[in-house]
């Protein structure tokens, strides 16, 4: 299988379901993330994000831009990693072996897409103590809805770890369990994010790439990768 991920920003409505699904699936300490809607994963401490771009001219408009790691073919993050913690799977997915990551930050500096961020020690505990989360938990408890109170996450093999750099894994753990579709793709209500197989001649994502409608985000950087964007 040759995985391919296609983003169509024109279909994105900015609901952020993808961000929430990713946070739940991968134990992202999301309560620590900034609420500022503008930013990149490494400034927001998230694996994926949706930014919006507003224009006044010729008419007021708002467009959305979903973001995630591009899983570069020639990945600068992999090249600069001094310990080999960043590596590529046979399918081309760029992953971080948290046990080997020393947290030097060189990969964050080298990534031209801002797709990585540091998870410091105590991040999960701090996230669970977040005042907004505590307020919501209190209200849920008062309403008798204890089941909906946020609990410490159940981690998958490639979930967030403290004291390491974190990034999107394209939910690679799902591949290992047999049904590989990233959580963000699964929940996207408008199919702004689609995932497929370049080896499958009937795959809609692969067709967008083959037809040239979906292209790499920054061809000038020559990084290539598994993620393509449908041009406006």
């Amino acid at each position: 299988m040759r995985p391919v991920f296609v983003v169509d920003p024109s279909k994105c409505i900015g609901c952020m379901a993808c961000v929430a699904a990713c946070a739940i699936e991968n134990a992202v300490p999301f309560a620590l993330s900034k609420t500022d809607p503008v930013g990149w994963p490494h400034t927001l401490w998230a694996r994926t994000w949706v930014m919006w771009i507003e224009k006044e001219d010729p008419a007021p408009s708002r467009t959305f831009m979903p973001y995630l790691c591009l899983h570069c073919q020639d990945a600068p993050c992999e090249r600069v990693c001094p310990t080999g913690a960043t590596f590529k799977t046979p399918e081309g997915v760029v992953l971080v072996d948290h046990s080997k990551c020393i947290g030097c930050g060189y990969c964050i500096v080298a990534c031209p897409y801002g797709s990585r961020y540091k998870v410091k020690e105590g991040a999960f505990e701090k996230a669970m103590r977040d005042s907004k989360l505590q307020d919501v938990s209190k209200k849920l408890r008062e309403a008798g809805l204890e089941d909906y109170i946020m609990k410490p996450p159940t981690k998958n093999k490639w979930a967030v770890e403290e004291r390491a750099v974190d990034k999107c894994t394209l939910c690679y753990h799902r591949k290992e369990t047999g049904a590989w579709i990233p959580a963000c793709v699964e929940v996207c209500p408008t199919k702004a994010r689609i995932f497929g197989d370049l080896d499958n001649s009937n795959d809609p994502a692969a067709e967008l790439v083959r037809s040239g409608k979906a292209r790499p985000l920054r061809p000038d950087l020559g990084t290539g990768g598994l993620v393509y964007y449908v041009s406006p």
Partner: protein
Amino acid sequence: MSNFVLNDIWGVEIAIEMTFLAVGSFSIVLAFLSILEGRRRDALIGGILGVVFPLIALAILNLHLLKPEAAYLVFTSFQPRSWMAIGAVGIVVLLITSAIFTVLLMLGKDGVAVKVVGLIASLAGIFVATYTGLVLSYERGIPFWHSAAIPIIGLLMGAIGGLSAYSIIRPGDMRITSSLGVAMLLQAAIFSIHIHLSSIGPAVAKYSAEVALANPVFIIGMLLSVIGGLLGLSTFRLRSRYVALTVAVLGLLAIAKLRYTLLASGAWEYPLLR
């Protein structure tokens, strides 16, 4: 909305670490030159600086890591394509050879062995100084750093660091102070050219140049470099120990400030579909 994001991953602690590396890297070069001229005391002090300063730099770098206790993985899982891994090996070679050089001098040796070890340590020192620029300039993500000027600035910062240390050790030697002056003026000139080229380069490089120019730390660093450079050159005529010491202090402050500005002004331009 701007899609320019300033680097906040490597900040002031890395600037300090690289300043220590700069001083340590060229102290050993000057120690080697001192032993060639038969000045054992100066060589010994330079050797000690070549051990202590890189050690402090490594300690600062280690504290910056999320997992300091796993730093050994840089050596046991050596990645030859990573400048950081190559640089770490260079620093360790500098440390070990400087230590051997110093111990040999302490034991009263000054023969071929000392000179060979001193030469190897000097080459390691020159590499380490250049590495502080290479580690930034190699990657394309931050165009302000992705420039051939940066390793040259790194090398010059090493020379200024070492010469400043020696100007303090040997304030009466005006060759050192005047060389320091030349290096400081060269640093100011190359940094100015780099800022100019960035300002006519890609939009994000221009943005970085504007950020640097608006930063008082950069202005002070450049002023210190120019004033120190001119003062250093003046020691050709004005043979004053106090001037020599002043130039040395200005040199150390200038490299720390300019290094910090270089790091703090680095910006990514993240792609947006509009």
